[in-house]
C-alpha cells in the first residue's frame, strides 16, 4: 500500500514531469513564433532597398493605413505589437534559461568537451548560446524603443538609425538575432522530428543566415545614407 509520503512524492514527480514537457513545448513554440517573425520583419524593413516610397507603403499597410482617415495608419499598433513580442521574448528567455550553463563547472565542462570533440552541431549550439546571451540585453532595448517611439517611416527610421545612433545597436543585434533564430528554427525542426532531412535543413539555415545578413546590412547602410542626407529637425517622408 502506498503511504502518504509515497503519494506526495509521486504527485510531485508528475508535476515536475508535466512542467518539463510544458517548458520544452513553450520554448519551441515561442522560438518558432519569434524566428518566423524575424524572417518577415527583416524583409519588411529591407523594403527600403526598393526606395523610400516602397518602405513608406509597407509601413502604412502594416499600421492599418487603409482604416485611418488620413491614410497614414496608427503607430500605436506598432507599440501594441512590440509589447506582445516583448512578452513572447520574455517567455522564450525564461524557459531557455534552464539550458544555460549557469554554473562555472558546467561552462568548463562544455568548453573542455568542445576542445576534445570536434562536432559542428555542438559548435552551432554554442553560438546560439552566445547570441542568446547577447539578445537578453539587446532585444528589450530594441523593443522598448519601438514601444516608446513607434513612429516608423523612411525619414523617421533613418533619423533613429543615423542621428540617434541606433546603428550601434543594430550592428550587433542583427548578426546575433539572425544566427540565433535561423539555427534555432533548424534545431526545433530536428528536435520534434518535423523533418528528417537534416542536411537539407542545415543547408537552408546557412543560406538564410547569409541572405538575411546581406539584406539586413544593405538596408542598414541605406538608412545610414538617408540619415546622413537629412537635416534636423527632419520632415516625415510623404510620397
Amino acid at each position: 500500500m502506498r503511504t502518504l509520503t509515497d503519494t506526495t512524492a509521486l504527485f510531485k514527480q508528475k508535476v515536475a514531469s508535466a512542467w518539463s514537457a510544458k517548458a520544452d513545448r513553450l520554448q519551441s513554440a515561442t522560438g518558432i513564433l519569434l524566428g518566423c517573425f524575424l524572417l518577415v520583419h527583416l524583409h519588411f524593413e529591407s523594403s527600403i532597398l526598393f526606395g523610400k516610397e516602397a518602405f513608406y507603403h509597407v509601413v502604412q499597410f502594416l499600421e492599418g493605413g487603409m482604416f485611418s482617415e488620413t491614410g497614414h495608419g496608427y503607430p500605436l499598433l506598432t507599440s501594441i505589437f512590440s509589447t506582445f513580442l516583448l512578452v513572447v521574448v520574455l517567455v522564450h528567455a525564461a524557459f531557455a534559461l534552464r539550458r544555460f550553463p549557469a554554473q562555472i563547472g558546467q561552462w568548463r565542462a562544455l568548453r573542455s568537451q568542445m576542445q576534445v570533440v570536434n562536432h559542428s552541431d555542438t559548435r552551432v549550439w554554442f553560438w546560439q548560446l552566445v547570441s542568446g546571451f547577447i539578445l537578453f540585453f539587446l532585444v528589450p532595448v530594441h523593443l522598448y524603443t519601438m514601444i516608446a517611439t513607434p513612429e516608423i517611416g523612411p525619414h523617421l527610421s533613418a533619423e533613429r538609425v543615423y542621428h540617434d545612433n541606433a546603428w550601434l545597436l543594430y550592428i550587433v543585434l542583427l548578426p546575433a538575432v539572425v544566427v540565433h533564430a535561423m539555427f534555432g528554427l533548424y534545431r526545433v525542426a530536428v528536435k520534434w522530428g518535423i523533418s528528417a532531412n537534416r542536411t537539407g535543413l542545415r543547408k537552408l539555415a546557412h543560406i538564410l543566415v547569409v541572405y538575411l545578413m546581406v539584406i539586413g546590412l544593405l538596408s542598414l547602410g541605406q538608412y545610414m545614407m538617408i540619415g546622413s542626407e537629412l537635416t534636423l529637425p527632419i520632415e516625415p517622408f510623404r510620397p
Binding site: 514527480q13 515536475a16 514537457a21 513545448r25 568537451q113 570533440v117 552541431d121 555542438t122 534545431r187
Partner: protein, 247 residues
C-alpha cells in the same frame, strides 16, 4: 608499386598520457611514430605501439570487430571505435588520440564506461521486468512476432561503448542527464511486449529534465554512434509522445 607505397607511410600518433594512480604524473601528449601497414586500424597500430615501443600504454579492447564497444576513444576529434577506424582515413598521417570525456579515467586512453553503464542501468532499471507468471521457468515463453523482434534488435544493437555520452555536451554539463544510451534502452524495453511496465512507468523515468526534456538536440549521439543507431528519430519520437501524454 613505388618504394614509398611498399614501405608504407610513417604515421604520427599523438596520444594522451596520464596515470591517475601515479601521484606525480601530469597529463601530457606524447608522440609515437609507426609504419603504416595495409588495412591497418587504429586498434592494430595501438597494439603494435604497446608491443614494440611502450608497454605502459593503457587502452581497452576485447573483440577487435566493433562488437564489444571497449576500444572507444576520441580519434582526431571524433569519438569512435579504434577497431573500426582505418589509419588510411587520415591523409596527413597524423592521428591524435584522447580518452572519452565524461568518464572516470583509468589511465591514458582507458576509461571506466562499465561503471557508468551499470549506474545508468540500475537507475533506469534497464532489464526485463517479466509479466506475472512469465518468470516461471517451467512454462513455455510466449512467442514474439518476427516484426517485434526485428524492432527490438534494432535498438538492442547498442554496444555501450560510451561514444554517445562523450559526444553529448548536454551530458557533460548535466551529470544527471540520462543521455542517448539511457533513452535508447528505455525505448527498447517500452517496445518489448514481455515487459510488465506500462508506458506511464517509463515516462515517469525519462519524461523530465534529466530525460527527454533535458536533451538539447545537439545530436552528438546521432553523428558519432559507431553502430548508426537512430538516436535523433528515437528521441524526437519519445519527446513528441511524452509532450502529448504529460501535459
Amino acid at each position: 608499386m613505388s618504394q614509398q607505397m611498399a614501405k608504407g607511410r610513417t604515421l604520427t600518433f599523438s596520444i594522451f598520457r596520464y596515470d591517475p594512480q601515479m601521484p606525480d604524473d601530469k597529463p601530457k601528449m606524447v608522440d609515437y611514430q609507426i609504419e603504416e601497414a595495409p588495412g591497418m586500424t587504429v586498434f592494430i597500430a595501438l597494439n603494435q605501439l604497446r608491443e614494440q615501443q611502450d608497454p605502459s600504454l593503457q587502452f581497452d579492447f576485447v573483440c577487435r570487430a566493433g562488437i564489444c564497444g571497449s576500444c572507444a576513444m576520441v580519434i582526431n576529434g571524433m569519438p569512435t571505435l579504434a577497431c573500426r577506424t582505418l589509419t588510411s582515413k587520415f591523409a596527413d598521417g597524423k592521428i591524435k588520440l584522447m580518452p572519452l570525456p565524461g568518464f572516470e579515467l583509468i589511465g591514458d586512453l582507458s576509461v571506466n564506461t562499465g561503471k557508468f553503464m551499470r549506474e545508468i542501468a540500475e537507475r533506469l532499471k534497464l532489464w526485463l521486468h517479466p509479466k506475472t507468471g512469465d518468470d516461471d521457468i517451467h512454462r513455455l515463453e510466449a512467442p514474439m512476432s518476427p516484426e517485434e523482434a526485428a524492432k527490438l534488435y534494432e535498438l538492442e544493437r547498442c554496444v555501450e561503448c560510451g561514444v554517445c555520452v562523450s559526444a553529448c555536451a548536454t551530458k557533460q554539463m548535466r551529470d544527471t542527464f540520462v543521455g542517448a544510451v539511457g533513452l535508447m534502452k528505455i525505448a527498447r524495453f517500452e517496445l518489448d511486449s514481455r515487459d510488465a511496465r506500462s508506458a506511464d512507468d517509463f515516462y515517469h523515468v525519462i519524461g523530465n529534465q534529466d530525460g527527454v526534456f533535458g536533451c538539447m538536440t545537439l545530436l552528438g549521439c546521432q553523428d558519432n554512434c559507431p553502430k548508426d543507431l537512430p538516436h535523433m528519430q528515437q528521441i524526437a519520437y519519445l519527446r513528441r509522445k511524452m509532450a502529448v501524454t504529460l501535459v
